[in-house]
């Protein structure tokens, strides 16, 4: 009897989905994170740049477009972290036997963080 693979038994991999999020997050993080981190985390606290006042920041974040941009940055970057960190654990620490829990932990963190970010940015 010839070997037959029915379409129903072929399990579709969900790897391309996570990879797409990883890739999109990689681009967003590469473009946006260095300048934002440098300004808010180094240049402003060290006094190299004028600190924007509370009112100015409030006005900026009050704009839904600003919050949407921030949501896209933080959420996609979180999925970028999840995918890359998952494979860092695989390759660096040889946790291949823990495939499922590691993936669950990494993507779970990214999903929870994104949900929290969406909620807190929506209810600004």
């Amino acid at each position: 009897m010839p070997h037959q693979t029915s379409l129903k038994t072929v399990k579709r991999s969900n790897e391309p989905f996570w990879w797409a999020l990883f890739s999109a997050g990689g681009v967003i993080a590469a473009l946006c994170v260095p300048v934002l981190l440098f300004m808010t985390g180094l240049a402003i606290p060290l006094g190299w740049m004028d600190a924007p006042g509370y009112e100015a920041m409030y006005t900026l974040f009050e704009n839904p477009l600003s919050r949407l941009v921030i949501l896209v940055i933080v959420s996609l970057s979180a999925f970028h972290w999840a995918h890359r960190f998952r494979f860092t654990l695989y390759d660096g620490l040889h946790l291949k036997h823990l495939n499922a829990p590691v993936a669950f932990f990494c993507y779970g963190c990214a999903i929870l963080f994104s949900a929290y970010a969406a909620y807190s940015l929506y209810s600004f």
Binding site: G25, C32, V33, V35, L36, T40, G41, M57, S77, F124
Partner: protein, 137 residues
Amino acid sequence: MSYGRYKKNHPWLYHKKPPLLWWVKKWAYVRFILRELTSLGVAFYVVVLLTYVNAVSQGPEAFAVFSDWLKSPLSLGLHGIAFIFVLFHSITWFNLAPKAMVVHLGKKRIPGRIILIMNYSMWFVVTAGFFWLLTTV
């Protein structure tokens, strides 16, 4: 192929696990692990960024407390390390893009050099844009 009940000298007994620090012996491997670890810098900053927005949302006092924390040596140290990591991420990401992306214009393939230039130009525009935004608010 089944080995049945034969237990002695299984092939997998010969599979040696590489040591945990297999990557420290060669600079190329160290660079690979460092590149993979840049994701921790990215993760650190997105948490900070969301906390920043939440602090503004909570009011002037919370914003002042958070701004003071940003001036602490701990924060400056973490941001300093994270900044090197995210720079490394950006550079390695943009440099790899021409190899990962095959873009066609009509029937011609766009050369990698052009994609590289486009990436770095885009990075420059986004950086200048955010800088302009935060200096004019």
